[in-house]
Amino acid sequence: MALSLVAYIREFARVEWAKKFLAARTAPLVIPPYFRNYPELTGKTCTHHLFCMMACPAPGAIDVIRTPEGWQPRIHVGHCIRCGLCVEACPNGVLSSGRILESMFLDNTRLSFSFAITVDLDRCMGCGNCAVACPVNKLIDAQMSHGGRASTDDLLLKVSDGKCHVLHVEKCTGCKTCEHHCPNEAISVARLLEAVHSPEEEPWTS
């Protein structure tokens, strides 16, 4: 015991060792361009299509908030799994992470999606939380978002005969706000997502 202690002290007291120890440097940590980090804002304008939320597989990892400058995606790093699907899904390139945007451009790929909303009529109380909170409804009908009165049938969701009804499923952007805010777990959104090659025009500018 005592001997080995002496051996240690002798080893570490050597000048060469001390020099090496103090002078050693590792290369600075650089994130390589192909590495996917948490998505960042590119500065492009968000149009509140909420494709990012829809594509995100991690619950609670991304939402889109209203700031004084307009809509803006917000990443919750604790939840984000850095899959990059939101970057791929965004039609306006608002987000970036690694070389995703670049490779999409080169490969001419995009994500294609559609949704199915199901309402469990036994559970639904017709409280209207989903229809009032729905961001799509909000854009269509201000009266709906200010307290649940439908002034048009162009809405995505609407309460009639005491239950929530899906009027225009094609308008759904898959953000799942309805699902998250249903107290009865009566509504759910299923997304069908696939990557497709789009040889011709850019479909998202329309």
Binding site: I65, C127, N129, A150, K158, V159, D161, P183, N184
Partner: protein, 428 residues
């Protein structure tokens, strides 16, 4: 025919934005209303004509006979009780109170089994409240305490609080924090930012602890109060203190648990304390659509919101003594008129038993649990469907209901008015 801006006659939310399609005397569809509203409009269990019990069975009778017998029963009684009133409109409630003063009766409304304790607390410390629009337009913190709005007031959150965008709250559910306090997880706690789980009967202590923190005496709060950690209490207090406008809504979980009105009093005093730092309001989640109207009417005529005893000529009020449940439990009353409510379903069994043993008359459109306890039932038009009148929303806003179609049923005012005339005639 589509009728717009129909007022829902179900709960205290009194939503007035329903669109109802009717054909003749049938409701085809209801838009914007919740499940409960739709059932109210489309349900059909109406009694076709007055009935009276002879021996053990019911027989059909006429309005004239039923009304005359009711008047006789009431005139005969030494301690008649006129109970209910929450499911009818203000104009009928007014006649009810005048009938009670004429008879020397006790008149009481359904507050007795729901928010009576809230009223008693308000009578001790007042009530810092506001209309629901004030919450919708301003609140950034919403607290539901012992209330499960999704079950009892389904549209409360989407129409007035959590989800409805307001003038100063552009993106409602993102800009608002929701705190739910309850003894168990509920549908409403599902969507809360902070769920405070209190051990049953522990609300009073939790409210006291929160008051201490707001008063700057937080260092004295023990590690755990009624199952809630000190840490969470501080977190909740800080959310409240940093609110620009906070609104507390409380329900039967607070009024009907141990301590009853003292719980509400403590909650109101917490609200007052918070007002020294920011803006806070507190409101009871009133159940029946026009229970608040009956409180208002009783108050402007007698001075008291419920449980008014006219047996000595003057108005006397003392919950615990003049409240229906207490009167029935002590078997005091010797006749009862039930209007627009269902004590048979909501009262303790002993009370219902006494109702069955005395002459009980029910004025109600539907056959319900009280029918089985009654001697006579007089069906009437349903306010908000085939009759119209005034109702008060849970926050005190009066709204006139709409009549969707007319039927042959007389409304409550007609029936009660005739009973009143007969009693007045007899009293001279």
């Amino acid at each position: 025919m589509r009728i717009e801006d129909v007022v829902c006659p179900f709960c205290g939310c009194l939503c007035d934005d329903l669109v109802v399609s009717v054909e003749g005397t049938k409701v085809l569809s209801v838009e914007n209303g919740c499940t409960l509203a739709t059932e109210k409009f489309t349900g059909d269990h109406r009694l076709a004509h007055p009935i009276r019990r002879t021996g053990g069975s019911w027989e059909k009778t006429t309005y004239d006979v039923a009304i005359r017998e009711t008047a006789e029963i009431l005139l005969d009684a030494e301690r008649p009780l006129l109970y209910g009133w929450s499911g009818t409109f203000v104009e009928a409630q007014t006649i009810g109170v005048h009938l009670a003063e004429l008879l020397g009766a006790v008149i009481d409304n359904t507050s007795t089994v729901c928010h009576g304790p809230s009223i008693m607390a308000i009578q001790e410390v007042g009530h810092p409240g506001c209309t629901l629009g004030q919450v919708k337009n301003r609140a950034d913190v919403i607290v539901y305490w012992g209330a499960n709005p999704i079950e009892a007031h389904p549209r409360h959150m989407s129409r007035y609080t959590t989800f409805a965008d307001g003038f100063f709250v552009k993106s409602a559910f993102r800009d608002r924090k929701v705190i739910v306090v309850d003894i168990r997880e509920t549908d409403s706690s599902e969507i809360a930012d902070e769920f405070v789980k209190v051990t049953p009967g522990g609300d009073y202590a939790v409210l006291s602890a929160l008051r201490m923190i707001v008063r700057g005496k937080g260092e004295l709060v023990p590690e755990k109060v009624s199952g809630v950690t000190r840490e969470q209490l501080f977190r909740v207090a800080n959310i409240c203190l940093s609110a620009r406008f906070g609104a507390i809504f409380f329900g039967l979980g607070l009024t009907m648990s141990r301590g009853k009105y003292k719980n509400i009093r403590n909650a109101i005093e917490l609200t007052e304390e918070l007002n020294r730092h920011t803006k806070f309001t507190i409101s009871p989640m009133r159940g029946h659509w026009n229970v608040y109207g009956s409180n208002e009417v009783f108050t402007w005529i007698t001075g008291y919101p419920y449980a008014v005893d006219f047996s000595r000529g003057i108005a006397f009020y003392n919950p615990g003594e003049t409240t229906s449940v207490d009167i029935l439990r002590r078997k005091e009353c010797d006749a009862c008129l039930v209007v627009a409510s269902d004590p048979g379903a909501h009262f303790p069994r002993a009370c219902a038993g006494h109702l069955a043993s005395i002459p009980t008359v029910q004025i109600d459109p539907h056959v319900n649990a009280t029918t089985h306890l009654s001697r006579i039932q007089i069906p009437v038009a349903v306010t908000g469907i085939d009759a119209e009148g005034t109702a008060y929303r849970m926050d005190g806003v009066p709204i006139r209901t709409r009549q969707l179609f007319s039927t042959d049923y007389p409304d409550d005012v007609a029936v009660l008015g005739r009973i009143y005339s007969l009693v007045k005639e007899a009293k001279g």
